[in-house]
């Protein structure tokens, strides 16, 4: 880029606002990044009330965003307890957002070349053995909107959908090293070139395309799983073998 173009870019895009990085998220309920930078007075109340220490105060390496709240998804994701939107004194976090499904922090995208499940699938097809392949499914299991935000394609390949709120739990828990196979692209990232690496490989399903029958089928399983408690009566599953009721020697 030539100098005049650089200058034009600098002056037309306010350098103080709209600075994005992958896996840097605003707390839940945040208004669009430009509005957020106008409204946020850096009072740190959201940081204070966060019971999981997820929200952190941005330091110098975030340039002029220093002092503003950030969730660093790789270190500690947002667990969507929704305590912060209501304490914001300038409504930089919209207090109307109370349901975790309404949150829009970003979108998770999966890098298919790093994800263990994808490697497993490819190797199984080709019949190779690299030692990397693993049936991990951590992101699918950790997702708070299970079977809504991340669905399993062909029962093995995790795919993110449009319902993803971008809480980042999948990124925090993703076991690949040193780079995470699943990353959050913050909401409203303008410069897709910066996110290009992930944008080329991502695969986000529109919500309508999802097979509704399949969701319902999963829902029943999830409901059943949720009802399992370690107290009270045993859940009734069907087994094709006899369960031993008593163990000898035990009272």
């Amino acid at each position: 880029m030539s100098l005049p173009e650089d200058l034009r870019d600098l002056l037309n895009n306010n350098p103080f606002k709209g600075y994005y990085k992958i896996n840097r998220l605003r707390p839940p309920g945040a208004v669009s990044e430009k509005r957020f930078m106008e409204l946020c007075i850096r009072c740190a109340r959201c940081i204070e009330v966060c019971p999981y220490d997820s929200i952190k105060r941005a330091d110098l390496y975030e340039r002029l965003q220093i002092g503003t709240p950030y969730v660093f998804a790789e270190e500690k994701a947002c667990y969507l307890c929704m305590k912060c939107p209501e304490v914001c004194p300038t409504k930089a976090l919209d207090p109307k957002v109370t349901d975790k499904r309404e949150v829009k922090m970003g979108k998770a995208v999966i890098d298919q070349e790093l994800c263990y499940n994808y490697i497993y699938y490819k190797e199984e097809k080709k019949g190779e053995v690299s030692g990397k392949a693993l049936l991990c499914s951590t992101c699918y299991n950790a997702c708070p909107l299970m079977d809504e935000a991340i669905v399993m394609e062909k029962f093995i390949l995790p795919v993110t959908t449009e319902k993803c709120v971008g809480c980042g739990i999948c990124t925090e828990k993703c076991p690949t090293k040193p780079e995470k196979a699943i990353n959050i692209i913050p909401e409203g990232m303008i410069n897709k070139q910066e996110a290009g690496f992930f944008y080329r490989k991502y695969n986000i399903k529109p919500a309508e395309e999802m097979d509704k029958k399949e969701i319902n089928k999963h829902k029943k399983t999830i409901e059943r799983k949720e009802n399992i408690s370690s107290f009270g009566s045993e859940p009734d599953f069907e087994y094709d073998f006899e369960i031993q009721k008593n163990i000898e020697g035990w009272d």
Binding site: N14, F16, L39, C43, A44, R57, G67, V87, K91
Partner: protein
């Protein structure tokens, strides 16, 4: 009892408070939450009027939460003057400690000589600094002056320290200011440049409580001028925007010839 005694108690409580509030919040007691940019006590919301004002001019919106939260600080400033600075601000407290330390070490005084032109010059510098600051804030479109708001930074750094056990870069700014205060300039940040203080003194132009000389026979010992941290003449400049009603002049007056006079009631001291 001297005014300074009560003032020290309040300052100490505030100083302990900025560490206690995040501690209580970690224990999930959310009765008091926030920093000196904006704080909630129970359901009473208070916010730094300058922070909210910047937020209003940059975002071009105003909402009820913002309006309600500045009521108490504004009323406080209108009735009691800039008491926020002298009685509550942790930065002012730290600078006072540093100046006490200088006295203990018997270092040469760095306090500038009082003159009327100095007071006028100070007031001009303050106003200009705030206007330029607000202008740059408007251009940048983000509340930039919050980055140099000393009480806000100190309390939020206390929060970061208690919660995450580290400091962020903002503490460097405070340390820089404190070093400058200790070695070179006497109360320069509070006196000349602190945007929060300047904004509050714009509000308190007609404060109800101010220092006045009530006895015409004054020995003119000038001990009040010598003791004043804001380098003004408390005998006839009680209404000056620089005065923050700290009460040091009243304590230092050998004849106790002045009293604090408020529009509502007068307090004998």
């Amino acid at each position: 009892m001297k005014i300074s005694f009560y003032r020290r108690i309040v300052q100490l409580v505030v100083m302990i408070g900025i560490f206690m509030i995040p501690l209580l919040n970690i224990l999930e007691i959310y009765f008091i939450k926030g920093t000196f940019y904006s704080i909630d006590v129970g359901d009473v919301a208070m916010a730094d009027p300058l922070a909210v004002f910047q937020s209003v001019i940059t975002s071009e919106t105003i909402n009820t939460v913002m309006l309600i939260s500045v009521i108490i600080p504004l009323l406080l400033a209108m009735f009691f003057g800039r008491v926020w600075c002298s009685w509550f601000c942790p930065y002012h407290f730290l600078v006072e400690i540093l100046q006490k330390l200088r006295n203990l070490l018997k270092l040469k005084s760095i306090k500038p000589e009082y003159s009327e032109s100095l007071v006028n010059r100070s007031n001009r510098i303050r106003l200009l600094f705030l206007l330029i600051g607000l202008f740059i804030t408007g251009i940048a479109g983000i509340p930039l002056l919050n980055l140099i708001s000393a009480p806000g930074i100190i309390s939020s750094q206390a929060l970061v320290l208690v919660k995450f056990h580290y400091f962020t870069f903002e503490i460097v700014f405070i340390l820089f200011l404190l070093i400058m205060e200790f070695f070179f300039f006497y109360f320069f940040w509070c006196r000349l440049l602190c945007p929060t203080g300047i904004f509050l003194s714009l509000i308190d132009r007609k404060k109800a409580m101010k220092v006045t000389k009530i006895q015409p026979e004054c020995s003119m010992c000038k001990s009040c001028i010598k003791s004043c941290p804001m380098v003004i003449n408390p005998m006839n400049e009680g209404n000056n925007p620089l005065c923050h009603n700290c009460g040091i002049c009243i304590d230092s007056c050998p004849d106790n010839k002045k009293k604090t006079h408020s529009g509502l009631n007068s307090i004998e001291l």
